[in-house]
């Protein structure tokens, strides 16, 4: 089975500062997708950003960017100019469409981020 590890159960950051959430994964495949999801207290799962493994360029979405290190199997999320609304649980996820017929996702255990006013 594929594994996804988030080694930081909880983190905090001052409003307007930058924070980086870590994620590592284990796979022998070469083609796959990586995602970061945000889960605010409302419980809704919201896609933040995604990265295709075959693309060398790191994905960015406004204040959110990733540092994708394929050889190291690392996929960290950087949040710039942190806002109070960024307070949430963040999940890293891995998907390899070739492993099975279902495009299954494998999730990390999550990092709870608190933005401090």
């Amino acid at each position: 089975a594929q594994t996804v590890t988030q080694s930081q159960p909880e983190m905090s950051v001052q409003e307007a500062e930058t924070v980086t959430l870590s994620c590592t994964y284990d796979t022998s495949e070469n083609n796959y997708y990586l995602f970061w999801y945000k889960q605010p207290p409302s419980r809704q799962m919201i896609l933040v950003i995604r990265q295709e493994a075959y693309k060398q360029q790191n994905a960015t979405e406004n204040r959110f960017s990733v540092n994708f290190q394929k050889a190291a199997k690392s996929f960290s999320l950087k949040i710039s100019d942190s806002q109070l609304g960024d307070t949430a649980m963040y999940f890293c996820a891995f998907m390899n469409p070739l492993l099975n017929t279902g495009n299954q996702f494998y999730f990390g255990t999550g990092t709870s981020l608190t933005v401090i006013p």
């Binding site: 988030q6 799962m45 896609l47 998907m95 469409p97 279902g102 999730f107």
Partner: protein
């Protein structure tokens, strides 16, 4: 937005009773999934479906069954609920590989 709804949103049930959770989508997407979310475990796949009457087991399928008789509906059944099945259950669909999963709003199930 892909329309995906889960029902009920909350449920309390007694140990040993059967429980069915429903996931409904409005976009005719092929892939549908059931996950459970527990503290310290993230989201774990229970079952998934890749078409009508085509389903397969995920990582934590013991004690659960699923059915998909129509493209739009994916049902998760706990045949005889146990306290270890107290959890938040999420349904998801895959629109495309590029967009990843779209999730429902979740069902909080408490087994007493």
């Amino acid at each position: 937005d892909a329309g995906i709804t889960q029902s009920p949103r909350h449920k309390v049930t007694e140990t040993g009773t059967p429980v069915t959770l429903r996931c409904h989508q409005t976009e005719n997407h092929r892939y549908m999934y059931w996950y459970r979310q527990d503290p310290g475990h993230g989201l774990r796949l229970i079952h998934y479906s890749y078409g009508v009457k085509d389903t397969d087991k995920g990582e934590v399928s013991d004690g659960y069954s699923v059915s998909r008789s129509k493209t739009e509906d994916f049902l998760l059944t706990l045949e005889s609920a146990t306290s270890s099945q107290t959890s938040v259950y999420f349904c998801a669909i895959s629109v495309t590989l590029e967009t990843g999963h779209t999730f429902g709003s979740g069902t909080r199930l408490t087994v007493v």
